[in-house]
Symmetry: C5
Subunit: 253 residues, 5 copies
Amino acid sequence: MTPTQPIASVTPTIGLGVLHLFGWLPRSTAGDDDAGGGEDRPGAQADAGAAVVQAVKEAEADGVQVVTVSVLGHKADVGFMALGPDLWRLRRLQTDLQSAGLSVGYSYVSLTEVSEYAEGLPDETKRARLYPALPPAGMPAFCFYPMSKRRGEDEGSNWYALPFERRKQLMYGHGAVGRTFAGRILQLITGSTGLDDWEWGVTLFGVHPDDIKECVYRMRFDEASARFAEFGPFVLGMVAPVEAVLRSVLGDD
Amino acid sequence: MTPTQPIASVTPTIGLGVLHLFGWLPRSTAGDDDAGGGEDRPGAQADAGAAVVQAVKEAEADGVQVVTVSVLGHKADVGFMALGPDLWRLRRLQTDLQSAGLSVGYSYVSLTEVSEYAEGLPDETKRARLYPALPPAGMPAFCFYPMSKRRGEDEGSNWYALPFERRKQLMYGHGAVGRTFAGRILQLITGSTGLDDWEWGVTLFGVHPDDIKECVYRMRFDEASARFAEFGPFVLGMVAPVEAVLRSVLGDD
Amino acid sequence: MTPTQPIASVTPTIGLGVLHLFGWLPRSTAGDDDAGGGEDRPGAQADAGAAVVQAVKEAEADGVQVVTVSVLGHKADVGFMALGPDLWRLRRLQTDLQSAGLSVGYSYVSLTEVSEYAEGLPDETKRARLYPALPPAGMPAFCFYPMSKRRGEDEGSNWYALPFERRKQLMYGHGAVGRTFAGRILQLITGSTGLDDWEWGVTLFGVHPDDIKECVYRMRFDEASARFAEFGPFVLGMVAPVEAVLRSVLGDD
Amino acid sequence: MTPTQPIASVTPTIGLGVLHLFGWLPRSTAGDDDAGGGEDRPGAQADAGAAVVQAVKEAEADGVQVVTVSVLGHKADVGFMALGPDLWRLRRLQTDLQSAGLSVGYSYVSLTEVSEYAEGLPDETKRARLYPALPPAGMPAFCFYPMSKRRGEDEGSNWYALPFERRKQLMYGHGAVGRTFAGRILQLITGSTGLDDWEWGVTLFGVHPDDIKECVYRMRFDEASARFAEFGPFVLGMVAPVEAVLRSVLGDD
Amino acid sequence: MTPTQPIASVTPTIGLGVLHLFGWLPRSTAGDDDAGGGEDRPGAQADAGAAVVQAVKEAEADGVQVVTVSVLGHKADVGFMALGPDLWRLRRLQTDLQSAGLSVGYSYVSLTEVSEYAEGLPDETKRARLYPALPPAGMPAFCFYPMSKRRGEDEGSNWYALPFERRKQLMYGHGAVGRTFAGRILQLITGSTGLDDWEWGVTLFGVHPDDIKECVYRMRFDEASARFAEFGPFVLGMVAPVEAVLRSVLGDD
């Protein structure tokens, strides 16, 4: 390919782009010590690890925040939550990770935002939502899930048929439940209507995994959730520096 | 295979065929510098890139419009939105891209159309819907999603049980929301009833990604959406010339 | 395997078995000119093409009708709609196509039928439904989709709770919409209750692709569809002789 | 692995375990006659065939009934319905088939049973349900599908909220429809609540494929189905001896 | 990768983390005795078996309980249910199993818990739920499924809109059904709200497979299930020591 002129950045007018990437890296397996090809060539795992570290460090050097997560279960081995103003730079991180060997199995695209119900909040609170500093210290338990507000056939179960004041009141009650978990849970809600399959992405950081469980369980009884929320898949993991995350999912090689 | 006579074109009586293709290209990865086979043979990536550029240029030379998109997340790396009168020519573009190495993971088939609610619009407006010139300048944020009108069990939530005048009125209100985003968003709605799994394809071009988010979010409160719309998967990306798109998802090789 | 005696045919007591097969053939890609294995060995594409043609010709020689289709999008590259009395012979066609390299990604199993609402029609009409001659001349646009009648929780939206006369009346109105497309659309509805995941398969042949779109769109407002129909995935393509279909999806090799 | 002591059998207290396995075997394809690796090594197909026959014969020698089926369409090439008292022996059959090359793409786990509505039937009838002799002679058309009873939000559409006598009455009417197909259809319903994703597995053997279609279609109007049944995927095929089934899906090699 | 300091454990404040892993191991197949690559290299199976045994033994040595299961059908060949306080240690077990060759196809993440309706139970009962000793002796039949409480559009079918006392009463009735299976079934319900896609994971151990079927079937008529439960996929298998499980799914090699 021939060189072309630089591409102008694609950025939100306010706030940051957010890209959650979940996937797998090439892995050495028990039968790999003989010759012979296949995805799991000996050494591929070490190469992949080094290239992942480099991709993350370069993004961070360009001002992108990258939270790295070791994931439990079949949905992924590793997760990367990247926040930055320019979507091209987030795409470059994805490309670098894929070139490092990452198979992306699940992802989510969203933007930080101040919701329409939070316009009256202090500037500092709004700024923390638009430009959060992640990950929070001392909260290694990590959960991500997307959600939408229900548009039920019955008027009474259609969020988008409610007047603003009623919605604001419901959201306020919902927030009150969340606030009882202050210090145990940090919650970041990013907007994705028109960007991905659900309307919001919810990222939770917790001191303990049962803090996350209890918080989400309690909120489920709140009317805003009980009557109006629909949830996508949940991914659970542990936040750690990228090297530690890689070691936890690839072994000591 | 033996040569056969040319095949007659298959075209809509008015307007253009539209083919959205989303997928992945072969990629060099961190462990690829040694010998050994596999999909990711060294050089395959460069070959693929050149062949993709050629496929796009040949289609354009034949009068097909091709919008190329760098996509974020797991649904695809690259997207191609092609518009042209002959479905065989669109199929040839798909074949050329696949022969270049494209794995098509998601797609959408539709036709440009003037909706039954827009028959009274000026000819120029109708012509812009049937024969749009894409992509619009200065709108690099790209979103595609398909949608249908709800056919709920309850009469009141069944779009297809409403009289024409009521539907027209609802669509007019819906359009009014969209018009407040003039200059920030260009929207193209193409028809796919009987052609693909949803009834319409919606392609949005925006100046900023939050223009897309705000526009779709605002419309969701409009009655035509709140009560009657059902949405398929959303794909988000950035429009750029084909060479730049390839470089963004394959790296500098 | 040792030889065994011939197997008795498995046939419907009236009408024909119908097998729709949609899939992909091995393809030469941009990086294939060097040595090295993988699915896409050079020459594999030409071998596959020749073997597909032979499989189709042999089935036709045995009295099986085979409609060959070039498909747009990710659901398939090629489609085969085969009609014949003996299910074993249809299975042999599938086996021959798979041995030729076809990966079957989607399919549908049904039988031609005269619906219970059409018992009073002239014998010739009934015969055309049980033993159709396909494909119709001059109708290259092709669409297949399966559908079922809704069994909603609410009595009023449960087709199977309606009395026969009411269903017959609804089906008659539905047919009237279809008849306005005579000459532009040929529709074949085959029965699949107990045979595949939906209750009917619908195959449409059209002069133009927008004939298909307009026909299905108009029918959607008919009460039999608006209140009682549920639709599966839609596959769109172009009918052509097998050699032309292969060339369109594999390129000129 | 080191030898261990034999494992005690795991059996139902009455009746038999039933394992439906559907999948694919390795296949020689048009491009396979040259050297080079890949799954489809020449000879692999013949080896697989012989090993499948041996696996089935050994299971039969151990008292397991195995119905072998040639399947139409993309869901599988071959099906095995195995009935025997010990789940470990059914698992060994699955292992032997997988070691023979079978890729299992779909399956179903159930137990033969006498339903709570059939307790008053003659002992011989009950015994035929618990210990059926399969396949029935002269009924080569085969269909399998799972189903559940609806637990609708509305009390009137919730099977599990109905009193026993009402359910018994509905099941009796349902059975009456089935009995009109005596001699044309043999139906075996096996229980899977708590064992697999649906509550029952339904296996139908028919003289002709349209016997199956007509039987399932007629039953769909019965209230027990119309209001309370939910159906999973349908698999259709032809019953034959294992050698004939293999030949039908692999060709004559 | 360079060494880093040890990572602090991530544990629930009370109870244990629970990781269900279901998947497949590399397998020698009928055509594997010749040279040539592919995943199923001869010897790979034996290597995998030994590495799986080692991974399980090391986890047990670190105080993790690991129940090993031979699974029937297409969802998995083997299952591992691991319980331990530190999520990093559960992740290491997953990594060791994957490095041994396990492909994880399905999984579930949850925590042991005492439900809010069981706060008044004796300490010993609560302790048995938080720190169970698994597997129970003499109960080789194994079933796992996840479930949620319904949040229906209609108030009357929305569990989370019911007052606590009503929910407690319903759960008590539900438990009463379960208690009639004492000695035949051991049930462990673990919480996963906010951790995985459903709200609870249910693991059943039974003397016979029809104990499991009858227990789940009976409970389905209980109002707490009939009106308010939604169920995910069911996995059925047999519990045995790891060596016996491996032999049952890989053969004697």
